[in-house]
Assembly symmetry: C2
Homo-oligomer: 312 residues x 2
């Protein structure tokens, strides 16, 4: 099957046109205009079958997730998503209408809530299914929230429950079905919260590799340390049924939750709760001067090695 | 080896910083500003080992070519290259300093002549080496050269010799060395010519899939036909030693030359030659009203099926 017919049949109209697109799919490049007073925000993430999602993941979920993890990166800067470009490496046995239809519907499901348009890409054969997405977004000049900027005394917050995707993956790898599958397959990029945090958060990252490792990036970039209260980290009731050490492994060293982790001064925290009463945020600890990450349980420090996900 | 240490050691400083970059590698996203009065031009291309380059290609050439083919897409719009994001899927046996050093040097060799900066990306494990690059560029408002726009009476031109990469690949696939290896491994993106053609060319594309198929895209998008004079198409002396049919296969159905193919009125052709005496362009035929592609040899029509490269 030719790559051109595949592309146009399934992806050409997968997403709605965006007002900032001058030229979309179908030429050598796409052409876009930026809203006045905005900067361009861009990122790229690759998902490989069997490494970033289990082989048995549905085509719809694969399409959805390959977009969602990139929109999550935009959210982590406080940016407004605009468009994606997608590289699809497709094994012969998947180069058919059934797979491509469901996959394109998954892309659409991730794009549509945020008005994101698919403006370009490339489809090629490969022995392994792999998706590489570039996401483009806009942010008003100077308002991006970086990893650096956390200050001693800031509160550390997350946007929602942590460890669910890791719990689901461990079920699936054991060959079981799992009640938390949607946390793994259909993470919700925290786009609206990310934008709302402009002017409030001092530093931000999304949790893709594990809360421990990703918070660690904020700490290194900002030159500070942190004390986390493990008992305050929101998670699912199913994880509370596990022994503490297993639970904390999922929470600190699991990945793929795509919640936001961010810091803000106690004043800004109060102001945010007042200004955005409908957006829940969860304080889980404090930024401190002392380097490193201290983990507290029932007011006592506990030792848990922080690994994060290694893709090798 | 951790992806973070690999990325920072080899790619963190592979390219020079660009004045339009506000934040480069090392956060969730890159942040860029556009030059005033410019639009954003973006594209994405994937290269898979054994499909888009022979397995024995040097790491340096792989790094170079993965960037060059994307800069060629920018050139085909007349855009000024700005930056790249790169997704690297790396098999375990290549996740080492030796490969990554040479590969990063190849990226640098493709970026440096045009001041292109590597502003982001992702490195992940995979059983197959694959590279997905997004290239970003700028173009003054409304000046992009699209595939549509060719008009009856326009001349069809190319930017240089055609069929060399295909000739080289056929040598390599036979297990031979080839004097034209650099045409396959180190194509030169025609960036300066592409920019110079703003305001002159009526339609443009780069030749990645074969002159026949790529010119075909201009014809379909523009709703016109073409007559090509095979004897006028510039190629290498080595191809002239082949029987005509083999030579024409390389020229029309080979790919990977990354020369530009473009159309312009005879007036604009004269003006371009006057205004840019140092930039060689080669007329090879004419746009005509009649649909389809007519191929002429010694003033007689000849039949050559147009295939282009199919990646399935």
């Amino acid at each position: 099957m030719s790559e051109f017919s595949l592309i146009y049949r399934h992806f050409g109209s997968a997403t709605p046109p965006h007002a900032n697109t001058i030229l979309g799919i179908g030429d050598d490049c796409a052409i876009s205009q930026l809203p006045k007073g905005n900067e361009l925000v861009s990122c790229l993430d690759t998902l490989v079958a069997g490494r970033h999602f289990p082989h048995m993941t549905s085509p719809h979920a694969i399409g959805y997730k390959s977009v969602a993890v990139n929109l999550s990166d935009l959210a982590a800067m406080g940016a407004t998503p605009y468009a994606i470009l997608m590289g699809i490496s497709l094994p012969d046995h998947l180069a058919n209408d059934a797979f491509c239809h469901d996959f394109a519907q998954g892309i659409k499901a991730a794009c549509q809530p945020f008005g994101v348009e698919l403006i370009g890409g490339d489809t090629t054969g490969s022995d392994i299914l792999a998706l590489t997405v570039t996401a483009l977004g806009f942010i008003p000049q100077g308002q991006a929230i970086r990893r650096q900027g956390a200050k001693s005394g800031d509160l550390i917050c997350v946007s929602g429950k942590i460890g669910l995707a890791s719990f689901a993956l461990s079920d699936i790898l054991k060959g079981n079905d799992t009640p938390l599958r949607s946390a793994l397959d259909y993470p919700t990029p925290q786009v609206l919260l990310g934008q709302a945090l402009r002017g409030y958060a001092s530093a931000m990252i999304d949790i893709s590799d594990g809360l421990g490792q990703d918070l660690g990036h904020i700490l290194s970039a900002s030159g500070v340390g942190a004390r986390l209260d493990l008992d305050q980290i929101p998670t699912d009731a199913l994880l509370h049924e596990l022994p503490n050490q297993s639970k904390w492994q999922h929470i600190l060293n699991g990945g793929d939750d795509y919640q936001l982790c961010f810091t803000l001064s106690p004043d800004r925290f109060m102001a945010f709760q007042r200004d955005f009463p409908d957006l829940a945020i969860y304080p889980i600890g404090k930024i401190i001067d002392a380097q490193g990450l201290t983990l507290m349980h029932h007011d006592e420090p506990v030792e848990i090695p922080i690994k994060g996900w290694q893709h090798f």
